[in-house]
């Protein structure tokens, strides 16, 4: 399967099933579009605007790459991935809901201002230790284990975060495990003590900020309705510097209110942040800030604008990373990883403050997805089986999509939110994902020059 497109003056050809990516001239771009449908003579006739010898030369190059298995390859992974997904699995990552409470009142919060449609609650150290025990016991031979401190706002329960980290570390040697802790915070309670601790113990820190002050303050107010930008911004700058501008993200959400989100990304870059992620809001159409299909053309343009500006800044020595444009063409994940999904409900689980287990943080509070708890383990194995078999071949919309080896079939929670099924992808999310992949590959082409 071939996906070919033009972006920023580059003709890009993706051989989807092998993962090979080529930059070609106009001639070969046109040849590839005809190659499978037409004979050599027909291609020469159809491309009479080019010299015949050039067309023949182009065809011979295309043929050579086809023989090498780098063009027009077939998808031969279905059986492999289906078998792979049926193997015995382990739990390798937990999202700990340290606090179902928050000191902000962000309007787009999928957690309902931190409470996940339930009561305000903080995780106890007993539940936290049990969660770590559960992870170690269910992780088989896997060495690297990931634990994210999430909420709500996890720093509202910082003492328990510290105790869980200490407990995890105390188990590493005995069980041959290595914990990678991460923290997602809105920054309101960030102080020197937290920074010092986080910089010692957290392999990644996600700092929530939406971009420009007016954009941020509109969607991320304090409970009394004031903006939070001025409270957090200097702290985030300090945190990023203390981490040497690596192993962190400033992470924002864009909505229908700031369709010109490239300005928010560049605002963060102008402040000196080098690791930036600004991502589309995922919300149902009745919300006034929800992204709509008619927003897509503008959002595509924004991604293009951002990509071009990133090339410019990189060449000026002022480059930065944009999470959604990161793509690893040479040492990226294996095909098993690419096709088997994010691991939610199987390798990755969320733990509520009282110890219940859900397939991921976004399913918390939806009772039909309650899988068990950290004290008794997984009780509802039907949910686990459903997620285990969720892969791109189980999703009709993904089978012929060029993006399937990059997005892995998309987010199960988004699918459920929009369609009531984890197997039916969320269309706006898909369109944006496809655009981002195209931009990311164009960036690679530009950086090769």
């Amino acid at each position: 399967m071939i996906h070919q497109y033009k972006n920023n003056g580059y003709n890009i050809v993706m051989d989807v099933c092998s993962g090979a990516v080529h930059v070609v001239d106009d001639l070969v771009y046109d040849i590839i579009a005809l190659f499978e449908e037409k004979s050599e003579d027909e291609i020469v006739t159809a491309l009479s605007k080019y010299k015949k010898e050039d067309v023949l030369e182009g065809i011979s190059e295309v043929k050579a790459l086809k023989e090498e298995g780098l063009l027009f390859t077939e998808d031969e992974y279905e059986e492999y991935v289906t078998d792979f997904k049926q193997r015995k699995t382990v739990v390798k990552a937990l999202c700990l809901h340290i606090a179902h409470d928050c000191n902000l009142a962000c309007k787009y919060c999928f957690a309902g201002e931190g409470e996940y449609n339930g009561d305000r609650s903080l995780m106890s150290i007993e539940v936290g230790k049990k969660a770590i025990d559960f992870l170690v016991a269910n992780s088989g031979n896997r060495v690297n284990l990931e634990v994210d401190f999430f909420g709500g706002e996890p720093l509202m329960n910082f003492q328990v975060v510290k105790e869980i980290v200490a407990y995890g570390r105390s188990l590493e040697e005995k069980h041959n495990k290595k914990f990678r802790f991460t923290l997602t915070t809105n920054g309101m309670l960030l102080n020197d003590e937290v920074m010092e601790f986080a910089n010692k113990e957290m392999s990644n820190v996600v700092l929530s900020i939406d971009g420009r002050k007016e954009v941020h303050d509109r969607m991320r107010p304090t409970p009394n309705g004031k903006g939070s930008y001025d409270i957090i911004i200097e702290k985030f700058k300090k945190m990023a510097e203390l981490r040497n501008q690596t192993n962190y993200y400033v992470r924002g959400t864009f909505t229908h209110n700031n369709l010109d989100f490239s300005k928010d990304v560049l605002h963060l870059a102008d402040l000196g942040f080098k690791q930036i992620s600004v991502e589309p809001v995922v919300s149902l159409p009745e919300e006034p800030y929800a992204l709509r299909k008619e927003d897509l053309p503008q959002l595509f343009e924004e991604y293009d604008t951002l990509a071009k500006e990133m090339i410019k800044r990189k060449k000026e020595g002022k480059g930065f990373n944009f999470f959604h444009f990161m793509i690893d063409l040479n040492q990226g994940p294996c095909v098993a990883k690419r096709l088997s999904g994010c691991g939610s409900g199987v390798e990755y689980l969320a733990v509520t403050p009282w110890g219940d287990l859900y397939p991921c943080h976004q399913f918390v509070g939806t009772e039909e997805f309650l899988m068990g708890n950290v004290f008794d383990g997984i009780k509802n194995t039907d949910i686990q089986s459903e997620f285990k078999l969720c892969n791109v071949y189980a999703k009709e919309a993904c089978r012929n999509c060029f993006a399937r080896f990059y997005c892995s079939g998309g987010c199960a929670a988004n699918s459920y939110k929009f369609h009531g099924s984890i197997l039916e992808p969320y269309e706006i999310g898909c369109e944006l994902q496809k655009k981002r992949i195209e931009c990311a590959i164009m960036l690679k082409a530009a950086m090769e020059e």
């Binding site: 790459l65 990226g332 994940p333 691991g343 991921c360």
Partner: protein
């Protein structure tokens, strides 16, 4: 080649032999939490 520049010729098919060890990062632990970002991750065995 005169008309084609290959950016990557690493084929996914080759990863079928030794892939699937599972040591890599879970996608949602990186930054997103609202999408699925697999293609941008690195293989733990190539680090």
């Amino acid at each position: 080649m005169k008309h084609i520049k290959t950016l990557t010729n690493k084929t996914l098919k080759n990863t079928m032999k030794n892939g699937g060890c599972g040591e890599c990062q879970t996608s949602c632990q990186s930054a997103c939490k609202t999408s699925c970002t697999v293609g941008n991750q690195s293989c733990e065995n190539n680090k």
